[in-house]
């Protein structure tokens, strides 16, 4: 992955979130407070602007700039979570101009670990972790980008039947069952767009 691909990845992520802003909002209204789409979009639009203004020199640089913006613009639960994840991913990518698949996977592992630490969440709690963890595990086990796509979609849909025990949805108890987790959905975009960009370049 080079800096163009990294930029393309985050650009597509931002675009998909924008396109699905209302959808994310609706999902968050059902189990949360209805701002997930708004929060993510506010931050990612800023990421787009920043990438145009000050293009970074490396994939790590691209991700680091996005991390800073997520932390200072997204707010809510998703801001620090995406922010911490991207920050750790950026650290792991360093300032290398071209990043190998293996290194990317290791960086994503740091990312998911950061989310779990910040959010004190494990798999099965109906949060974005339920997409991040299976996605990263799949890559660690050598799945192709094509396979990742399926795994991510399945992981996302698996949150429907879960009962939330972290995040706002947890306040609903059993009533949280039967709904997709909004953070899992936005995270699915994150990995689907990554897979897409990687596939196209391969």
């Amino acid at each position: 992955m080079d800096k163009q691909m990294a930029a393309e990845w985050l650009k597509r992520f931002a675009e998909t979130v924008e396109k699905n802003k209302e959808e994310l909002t609706k999902l968050d209204q059902a189990v949360g407070d209805g701002d997930h789409g708004i929060n993510m979009n506010r931050g990612l639009q800023e990421v787009l602007r920043k990438m145009e203004e000050v293009p970074a020199d490396s994939p790590g640089g691209v991700v680091k700039a996005a991390a800073m913006i997520c932390i200072s613009k997204v707010g809510g639960a998703s801001g620090p979570l995406y922010g911490s994840a991207l920050m750790k991913i950026a650290s792991a990518l360093g300032d290398e101009e071209d990043v190998e698949g293996k290194q990317l996977t290791k960086a994503l592992r740091d990312g998911v670990d950061a989310i779990k630490k910040r959010g004190r969440a494990e798999e099965g709690e109906k949060t974005m972790v339920d997409v991040w963890e299976p996605a990263v595990q799949a890559l660690e086990q050598g799945s192709s980008w094509q396979e990742l796509t399926e795994i991510v979609k399945k992981a996302r849909d698996n949150t429907i039947d879960m009962k939330a025990t972290k995040g706002r949805a947890a306040y609903l108890g059993d009533r949280s069952i039967g709904h997709l987790d909004p953070g899992a959905v936005s995270s699915s975009y994150f990995f689907l767009e990554l897979a897409c960009v990687m596939e196209e370049s391969s």
């Binding site: 209204q29 209805g34 707010g75 801001g79 306040y171």
Partner: protein
């Protein structure tokens, strides 16, 4: 959605300007931030108290900035916790050398963002402590979850910790006082109609004409249970029972009562409810040292109410009645 505003994306910005314009004798806005601080900040030799959270809960928290309560309030977007950099600005602005206490309502987002700000402040050598308010008994407490939400009981934390800070207590004492309030304060709410986040444009949930939602939080989020509409008396009993299950007030105990309108429930109804709550407390032989009615922590234009009970000890009561002068809450020295 029918709202009086100019631009949904500017609503917090515009609101903060309005607060600063209306309450210029109390507070000012920190330039290029979403932070309102006491006019003369930092107050030297006083522990600073910073609170905040998503907007849409006005007068919380900006309305409580002033003598005897908060030194700063950090506003996030509507129902979205503020970001760490903003909280950090607030901390720096109010540190008068005795350190800063963060009063955080227990939401994952708030906790994480304030925590990150505290890390930043500590890196700059500012002494920061934090307390997390979790007064909402609607949801069962559990060590597996992120615990209970912070709702209107937070106002008592502001008032009483604020009095401790104002009286010159050090950071540990102020924190201890805040934690004592948190330990003794429990709340529960209900709603009759939802609210609309301006940028979302549609209500967070829907309620039929004959339904009410029990255990609703202050973010337009659905509650924990839906019932057919109850009378004020029945509602009072339901909320009291839930709160009392946790608080175990005894005959002869002294309590402070906070009845909080969530947005569009008229004071008329709030007072009807107050009358019913008072009757229940009298039945139980609980003495009401203080009854506060009105809008203290709202959820935009949600219709509904929450009941907060604070079990008083002599030291808490003394601080509850200590002088305070803020836009939204004023207490004359006795």
């Amino acid at each position: 959605m029918k709202k009086l505003l100019n631009n949904v994306d500017q609503v917090v910005e515009d609101m903060l300007n309005g607060m600063a314009a209306a309450h210029s004798t109390y507070l000012r806005r920190l330039q290029n931030t979403t932070v309102l601080v006491r006019k003369q900040s930092p107050v030297n030799g006083k522990v600073g108290i910073v609170s905040g959270g998503g907007s849409g809960h006005e007068p919380a928290h900006g309305g409580f900035v002033g003598k005897g309560m908060l030194d700063a309030a950090v506003a996030g977007e509507v129902f979205t916790s503020p970001t760490p950099d903003q909280v950090f600005e607030a901390i720096k602005a109010v540190d008068g050398g005795k350190g800063v206490l963060l009063v955080i309502k227990n939401y994952t987002g708030d906790v994480m963002n304030f925590e990150m700000a505290a890390e930043m402040a500590e890196a700059e050598g500012i002494n920061v402590q934090q307390v997390v308010v979790n007064d909402d008994v609607a949801v069962e407490d559990s060590s597996f979850t992120s615990g209970r939400r912070g709702i209107a009981g937070t106002v008592f934390v502001h008032k009483i910790a604020g009095a401790a800070a104002e009286s010159g207590a050090d950071l540990d004492e102020v924190k201890e006082t805040a934690e004592k309030v948190i330990h003794h304060v429990k709340s529960m709410g209900m709603s009759l109609s939802p609210c609309i986040v301006p940028a979302a444009g549609t209500p967070g949930f829907e309620l039929a004409e004959n339904e009410m939602e029990i255990g609703t939080g202050i973010h337009g989020e659905p509650g924990v249970e839906r019932t057919s509409i109850l009378s004020s008396k029945e509602t009072a009993r339901l909320l009291f029972d839930k709160v009392q299950d946790d608080l175990h007030l005894q005959k002869g105990d002294r309590a402070a009562v906070l009845i909080n309108g969530l947005g569009s429930t008229p004071l008329m109804e709030q007072y009807v409810f107050t009358s019913d709550v008072k009757e229940i407390l009298d039945e139980h032989g609980i003495e009401t040292a203080d009854v506060i009615v009105g809008e203290w922590m709202t959820s935009l234009e949600m219709a509904g109410i929450s009941l907060t009970l604070l079990k008083l000890t002599p030291d808490l009561e003394e601080k509850l009645f200590a002088e305070a002068d803020t836009p939204a809450m004023k207490r004359f020295a006795k």
